[in-house]
């Protein structure tokens, strides 16, 4: 029987979108994009015969993927990593260097050098950014900047 479309109907997810999300994120709605979970749940409640088959199929692949071997850290690895951590005397080297430079009255000179460094960095930036995922660097700050870089040449997006 025909009935007018309610607000809930209007906010209902399409079956195609539901299937696409199951195809990408699997059969557990908790792993779906948070912004779409609620409307997905509504569709699942309203049309269980349609959605249950989609979810069951996705869950089968989830379970298969879960069979991949897991790996727990060995005590030796934990120990090696903990031993390599900074000791209580560790201090930021940049701060120490800065205090030393300031003590010698070289702050003004460093400011000039820094400006020149920025200019060089700007000039080199396109080259650096054109080398996506260039791998780890010696400088952890640069490492963090890698977050902004483009995907690797190893695979397509």
């Amino acid at each position: 029987m025909w009935r007018p479309m309610t607000d809930a109907d209007k906010q209902m997810m399409s079956p195609d979108r539901f299937a696409a999300l199951a195809g990408g994120f699997g059969g557990d709605l908790e792993r779906w994009p948070p912004s779409e979970r609620e409307v997905a749940r509504r569709l699942a409640a309203a049309r269980p015969t349609l959605t249950e088959a989609v979810l069951a199929d996705a869950r089968r692949l989830d379970r298969t993927l879960d069979a991949a071997p897991a790996m727990s850290p060995s005590p030796e690895l934990r120990d090696r990593i903990v031993r390599a951590a900074p000791g209580p005397a560790a201090r930021p080297t940049t701060s120490a260097a800065w205090r030393w430079a300031a003590g010698l009255g070289l702050a003004a000179g460093l400011a000039g050098a820094a400006a020149a460094g920025v200019a060089v960095a700007v000039a080199l930036a396109p080259t650096t950014l054109a080398r996506p995922h260039a791998g780890p660097t010696a400088d952890p700050v640069e490492e963090a900047a890698l977050l902004l870089r483009e995907p690797s040449d190893l695979g397509e997006v």
Binding site: P86, P136, P151, S152
Partner: protein
């Protein structure tokens, strides 16, 4: 572990606080190791990557500025970069030794079918690295689409596309395994 608690631990670890160091290792090492294991498929390489990731974290910790970035995101990105470094090295070696057999999973399906885990591991390794990265972050590391997209520096739409293609390929590759489930 929440982002705020991570920040506090990283700052304390940077000062050499043993409790914070142990807490960070305890919370983050299994995730980093799992990530490397899934990306590389080799336990030895995964251990090396996990160790190197933490060495970089320890070097960075004294300079960590709370509130600027999520430590978890940073740690995953560093680990993934190290993984890509190794994958690149492997690829170069494969190119330099063209007469050698493909070091990837063999086609002996009958043998591998006895071990579902090995089959899944092999199927993951057959994926293009970016698709594998998406599956590892979302399925195995249980990250949200926003977190994974941030780590991969792609849009959430691009992430969804990578995931869909990855799962489609895995479904095909593991069809006989899934059917037995």
């Amino acid at each position: 572990m929440g982002a705020d608690l991570d920040d506090e631990l990283v700052v304390r670890a940077g000062r050499g606080d043993p409790a914070a160091i142990r807490a960070l290792v305890s919370h983050k090492l299994p995730k980093v190791l799992g990530l490397a294991r899934r990306m590389l498929g080799d336990p030895g390489d995964a251990e090396d990557v996990a160790q190197e990731t933490f060495l970089r974290a320890w070097r960075f910790a004294p300079r960590w500025r709370p509130g600027h970035a999520r430590f978890d995101t940073w740690l995953h990105r560093v680990a993934l970069n190290l993984c890509y470094d190794r994958l690149r090295r492997r690829r170069r070696m494969t190119h330099e030794l063209p007469d050698q057999a493909d070091p990837g999973p063999g086609p002996d399906r009958d043998l591998q079918a006895r071990d579902v885990g090995r089959r899944v591991d092999a199927a993951l390794r057959m994926l293009p690295p970016r698709q594998r990265e998406a599956i590892v972050l979302c399925h195995y590391q249980e990250m949200t689409n926003i977190e994974a997209a941030s780590i991969m520096a792609v849009s959430v739409e691009a992430l969804e596309s990578l995931l869909s293609r990855a799962r489609r390929a895995l479904r095909t590759d593991l069809a006989d395994v899934a059917a037995d489930d």
